[in-house]
Symmetry: C2
Subunit: 158 residues, 2 copies
């Protein structure tokens, strides 16, 4: 049956972020599709952000493309500020965002509303790493590091 | 700006299907994201099905995974019938379908409502080919063939 029964797919708010960067994503509840339903060509996650939660620390990927579609509720997309805007955009159901790999435009979603918001995010490519825009952290396939290369005592959840 | 302005992305109802198989998809209006916005790790299309239109002929892929999320309106998913159902399921906004590659479960969406329906579909993997379930046609990366291997005078739109 191709129509997914979301309830049957495990949901978690696990994160590998070192403290205190884990606090903002404690209200991020996600279901990863690839292991559960046999997809192997790209990754996909169904995410519920509780009021106040962030989708991640603001980040970008060296070698992974990301695509996001809002399903329910409202979120604020935060990205690099430009001359045209201050880096904040409201996302509503049906809105779609794309982040080609290698573009150093750190991005995340914040649920600043009082209700849950829900989105689907797809990623594809090699998980080689990337950087966080607002904190002293970068990531590789299997580690978090300070920007000077010193490792954190923490590992990405895979 | 990661939030996509859909209006800025070209929309088409082009199909390479030979007649008469093109008729059911004439009301399928789609935008392909990959060329327009720099995604290269997977394919993604935003699709509007007019009342009566089909998303494709009912098909499956040898080597491509597909993932679909309904954004607006209502569609009927048609797939192989099983003992449990007759192969028809209603899809509404927020519903998600996944088709792992190589599973010979021909599928498509039909808009049997009187309003547009809208979905996002992602595909990843190698476009090696597959088959259509209800008509005398198979496909390769660049051709449509009868099931006996005789080519149609028609080519997939890329």
């Amino acid at each position: 049956m191709p129509k997914l029964n979301l309830e049957s797919i495990p949901q978690t708010n696990a994160t590998g972020y070192p403290a205190p960067f884990d606090e903002e994503v404690a209200g991020r509840w996600y279901r990863r599709f690839a292991p559960a339903i046999g997809l192997s060509r790209f990754g996909a996650s169904h995410v519920v952000l509780k009021s106040g939660a962030w989708s991640s620390q603001r980040h970008w990927h060296e070698s992974e493309d990301e695509l996001l579609v809002m399903i329910a509720g409202e979120a604020v997309l935060v990205e690099n500020a430009t001359d045209e805007n201050e880096g904040r955009s409201i996302l509503k159901p049906g809105d779609i965002c794309a982040w080609p790999s290698g573009v150093e435009n750190g991005h995340h979603l914040r649920n600043e509303s009082h209700a849950d918001c829900v989105f689907l995010v797809i990623s594809g490519g090699e998980r080689t790493g990337g950087a966080y825009s607002d904190i002293d952290m970068i990531f590789t396939a299997d580690a978090y590091l300070h920007k000077d290369g010193t490792p954190y005592d923490a590992r990405p959840v895979r």
